[in-house]
Structure formats: structure tokens, C-alpha cells
């Protein structure tokens, strides 16, 4: 091969090299963009999961108040509340499908408690040893006492953990 041809070959290889470098650069850039948008989606999914679990907790038939089977919105039956903790802990695997890694509790805020009155109810507790995020949702609910027919002001706290 002559010198001219060698130079031509060298040119071609250099062009190809630059072409591939640009292509790889573009590809890496594109992948980074995709990674960024995937992260956004993951974040959105975690939020959706937290909202979903909070909704499921507030609409649970095991907790909700009803009047002749008509659901009362944003209301938890005090008498059901006393029983539900045991049910949820005895059937932890079943309720894990619904509440996953989360902590669900109810707290009475008003009227102020009398001495010895229970104001905190731990309903479900499945907190992982290590987690990457924790999202807390507080839902104001009425705590209905069916014997006195009174409504107290309470908070349903739902903390959702992501491993």
C-alpha cells in the first residue's frame, strides 16, 4: 500500500472513531435522561402507593362507621377500633397484602382525654429494619361512640415505608 492510501485509511478510521465517540456520548446522555425520568416515575409510584394505602385504611370495613349499613364518611367506630388491632396482628400476612410496610394508628385529639382513657390505638405495625423513604399521611376522622352517640375528633395516621 502507498503512503497516500495509508493516510486515507487513517482518515477513515479517525472519522469512524469520532463518529462512535459522538454516538456513545449521545447514547450516554440519552440513558442519563431516561434514568432521570425513571427516577421521577419511581418517586411518583411511591407517592401513589402511599396515597393508596391511606385510602384503603380510611375505607376499611373493619373500621368504618355505618348506620344501617350506610357508610359514614371519614368516621371510625370506637368499638371496632378496640377489636381491630388483634385481628390485624393475628392476620399479619393477609393485611400485609393491603398495607405493606406501614404503620397505621389512630389518635383521639378532642375532647381532651379523661384520666386513664385510651387515646392512642396502634392498628397495624410493619416497619422494615431499613428503609429508603417514609411518607406520612394524616387524615382527620370522627371517632364514633355508638353507645353515647357522640363523635370525637381524631386523626388516622398512615406512615408508608419503602425499602
Amino acid at each position: 500500500m502507498g503512503k497516500k492510501s495509508q493516510i486515507q485509511m487513517g482518515e477513515s478510521i479517525a472519522i469512524l472513531f469520532i463518529f462512535f465517540v459522538l454516538l456513545i456520548f449521545g447514547f450516554v446522555f440519552y440513558m442519563n435522561i431516561m434514568k432521570g425520568s425513571a427516577k421521577v416515575e419511581v418517586e411518583e409510584n411511591i407517592q401513589l402507593k402511599a396515597v393508596g394505602i391511606a385510602q384503603k385504611a380510611s375505607f376499611l370495613p373493619e373500621l368504618q362507621c355505618s348506620e344501617e349499613n350506610v357508610r359514614v364518611e371519614d368516621c371510625i367506630d370506637r368499638h371496632k377500633l378496640e377489636a381491630v388491632h388483634n385481628l390485624l396482628s393475628e392476620n399479619n400476612i393477609y393485611y400485609f397484602d393491603i398495607f405493606e410496610f406501614s404503620n397505621i394508628s389512630v389518635r383521639k385529639v378532642y375532647p381532651f382525654p379523661e384520666v386513664g382513657e385510651t387515646i392512642d390505638w396502634e392498628l397495624y405495625d410493619n416497619v422494615p429494619g431499613e428503609f429508603t423513604s417514609k411518607l406520612s399521611t394524616f387524615i382527620p376522622v370522627s371517632l364514633f361512640n355508638s353507645t353515647t352517640k357522640s363523635y370525637d375528633f381524631g386523626i388516622l395516621a398512615v406512615e408508608v415505608y419503602t425499602k
Partner: protein, 173 residues
Amino acid sequence: MRKGQMEVMGLAIIVILVSVSMLFAISFVVLKKPTSYKSEFTQTELASNMLSTLLETTIPNCNDLNMKDLYKDCAIDPLNPQVRCDDPGCWLNYSLGVGEQCTSCEFINYTTQVILSETLGKWNTGYGFIARTSTDTLVSVGRCPGVKKHKIYPIPIDPSGKNILDVSLDVCN
């Protein structure tokens, strides 16, 4: 212009166009903030649940009336409300004398503040609560400038339904 200069100009334009499109791509895709489903849901739920739950709450120290009844009583005649509440917290708050009791207006002011500060206040969530008729403002707690979720709960205060008490809550970050 020489041919070489024209080529350089063309190249420069291409480079500028590519850079601008890259910038757009970065601003739209990389810097895109995740849609905040949770805070949307939380604020909307908070505003509506807080109002309905608050007004539904039964007050044992006010003849087992609920907050809605007390708001109504205060709205009918704010200067001379009919209902009295035997509530120690309210009594202390207004430094009343022995044998005196809070009026419904005093009670709703005190209780609304207590409940909101025990909840939204503790969670560092901004709020603005207002209860007013066409002539009087009965309760006003907090302020919520800027972006907010607004919930209003109208309570008719006379049988004709002409006079309305508007109880509203704004929730903001």
C-alpha cells in the same frame, strides 16, 4: 462573505440549534419534578376532612351539642349567644370569673384554635380558617397566602336558608 466563512456560519447555526434543543430536553426531562400526588391528595383530604370532622365533633361540656350547632348559635346572634359551655379550658383561656361560663362564640373560637394547632400546627402545615356570615366574622385563625387548597362548608342559620354561615379552611404548604 467568503465560502469558508459561510460554512463556519452554517456550522455555528447548527451547533446553536443542537445546544438549544439539548437545553430543552434537559429542562423538560431531567429537571422534571415528580407530580406530587401525595401532597395534592393530603391537602385536598385535609381541607375537606378537617372541616367536616371538626363540625361533627360532639362537645360534652356544651350539652352534647356538636360544633356545627355551636357555630350556628353564635352566628344567629354573636352579641348575645344562647348556649353556654362549662368547659375548663375555655374558662381559663378567657379568664372568666367564678360561676361564669363561656358563650358559644367564645367556645368555638377557643376550640377551633386548639384543634387546628394540635393537628395542622403540629404537622407544620399552613392553614387559614375563617367562619363568617354576611355581617360578622365569628372565627379567624391563621393565614394562607399563595397556593392553597380551599374548602368551604356553608351552614344555613335560619329556616329560610337566606342567611348562611360560611366556614372555610385553606390548607397550604
